[in-house]
Symmetry: C2
Subunit: 317 residues, 2 copies
């Protein structure tokens, strides 16, 4: 059994490679929920949905949302938002496609009926005939919050979508992480796994929330010898998103070495891009085994090749 710790787009691409070479039934994915938020009353789980849409070949060309999407609700919302009071979040900056809205409507209804997020995610996966198991890291509320240079603290979506992750961040908090319990299913998936993979997701924004759950972090530490991390940075640059400059803003080394430093309690093997082969010694000095390979998943074939590399990376006994 394989367990993947995942954020959104990068993880989804990696998983689309992994299911080409491994039975989906053998894969469990523990997904970040720190980006989840409620907008217009809808309970939205961006990372879970991105993975689900990607793996069912129903993802938008931008890497999120659904393919063949229409935007009629959003078009109307745009008109309404123009008449909203200034401080309202009734707005059109979060791209809700009509078919995507159905996911949120269903999830919101089921959560209101008392189902937990793990159960609802299972129902949504089943409806999409998704055969791997998507497991939210927790059924409780954990919110990734960012404190900006001017001292203002904003939530993930405001940072990422509304402000296009362009403004410098001073610190990150995971609100609720001490009260939240990692889900039983997520903990089991980590404890039981023969091979654990930390997907090439933003370490601080997408993997950070998982590590902020004390029980989950402890189980993961105990599995360090079975855990392979994939660097999302190539030659110091993020393929997508703000990982590079965000790590620098937070005082971390914005390179695969910084990623290794961030994850060294949790992973024993680092898969990095071949462009970073000069950093081998620095990474290995942190106690990692290393594999260098092409990590840019620009095509399904490249995603599959990366998955092969990760599946053949040697583990400690």
């Amino acid at each position: 059994m394989i367990t993947v710790l995942a954020g959104g787009v990068g993880a989804a691409r990696f998983l689309s490679g992994l299911i080409q070479i491994e039975k989906p039934e053998n894969i469990r994915v523990v997904v970040n929920t720190g980006d989840d938020f409620i907008l217009h009353g809808l309970y939205i789980c961006p990372d879970i949905d991105t993975i689900r849409y990607t793996l069912t070949n129903d993802v938008g060309s931008q890497g999120w949302g659904r393919s063949n999407e229409t935007w009629h609700a959003l078009g109307e919302l745009k008109n309404l938002a123009q008449h909203a009071p200034e401080r309202s979040r009734a707005t059109d900056w979060f791209a809700l496609g009509d078919r995507d809205i159905a996911t949120h409507l269903y999830r919101t209804q089921r959560l209101r009926e008392g189902a937990d997020l793990t159960q609802v995610t299972g129902e949504l996966s089943q409806a999409a005939s998704l055969r791997l198991k998507l497991l939210p890291m927790t059924n409780d509320r954990v919110a990734t919050m960012l404190t900006m240079e001017d001292g203002e603290t904003i939530d993930f979506q405001e940072y990422f979508v509304k402000r296009r992750h362009a403004e410098p961040v001073m610190s990150i908090q995971f609100e609720g992480n001490r009260q939240a319990k990692a889900s039983r299913e997520a903990l089991d998936a980590i404890a039981d796994a023969e091979r654990l993979i930390i997907a090439p997701s933003n370490p601080v924004l997408s993997i950070g929330p998982l590590l902020a759950l004390p029980e989950l972090a402890a189980v993961l530490r105990s599995q360090r010898h079975r855990t392979i991390a994939i660097s999302p940075l190539i030659n110091g640059k993020a393929v997508k998103g703000p990982a590079d400059h965000l790590m620098a803003e937070l005082g971390l080394d914005s390179s695969v070495v910084g990623v290794a430093n961030y994850l060294d309690q949790y992973a024993g093997h680092m898969v990095a891009d071949e462009a970073d082969i000069d950093k081998r010694a620095s990474i290995e000095a942190l106690g990692f085994k290393t594999t260098f390979a092409p990590t840019l998943m620009s095509t399904p074939k490249r995603a599959r090749e990366l998955a092969k590399v990760v599946m053949s990376a040697t583990l400690d006994d």
Copy 2:
């Protein structure tokens, strides 16, 4: 100033006639909110929306929902609902069009932000350039509940939409009506009006919730001499919906005489269809003045003609 007490489709048709002969700025509409409900997390106000869509020439041909509507979210929801647990209300029986959803998203967001329903309804009206004032009867929660012959109590939408108002009803309750306060704006609209009109809406289901608010009912009683009711029944039949058989099921006379009986504390003048002229004596015996005229609003012109009749109906001094 004219104030209309309104339910959904019948009231909307009447108002579309009234605004042809009166300045919209002089019209306030106190609208039933007993049908309001939360589905998939969305706060839905069927009567308010039906009136708003009708008066902005954006209503569906069925009399509710929006014109030029698409159903992409609902199509997806249908697929998801098939995988929902049996008792779930995650479902597709309530027809949510994509553009209609935007209304509910906006309303839900604004209510979550602390705005009251009166304010949000004003914002939605303004966005649609609606010049008459739509006033929810209350900002509090009142839910029309129906007890069926088998003793089961269900909410309005389950009765009306899911079960297509086909099953016999034993009694109706307006849950929360004693705790709810009629809105200040609704009370003022009734107290200030020179002419009050009870629209041809289902008396027990659509006007009943307004009368179940004690303060609103009291102000309305004090305005009886200024109030004209329009019968929604023609020759004992409802134009649309269950008013006729529902009144019979509740032990009321399912004719304009039953309507007059139901409203005799609140209205001093009854406008009934010319087909019911034989009931003049029975209605007048209840203390009503009467006017008989064509009341079927099958075209905008007929709606206008009915509005003219109502506007020229004599009031007591």
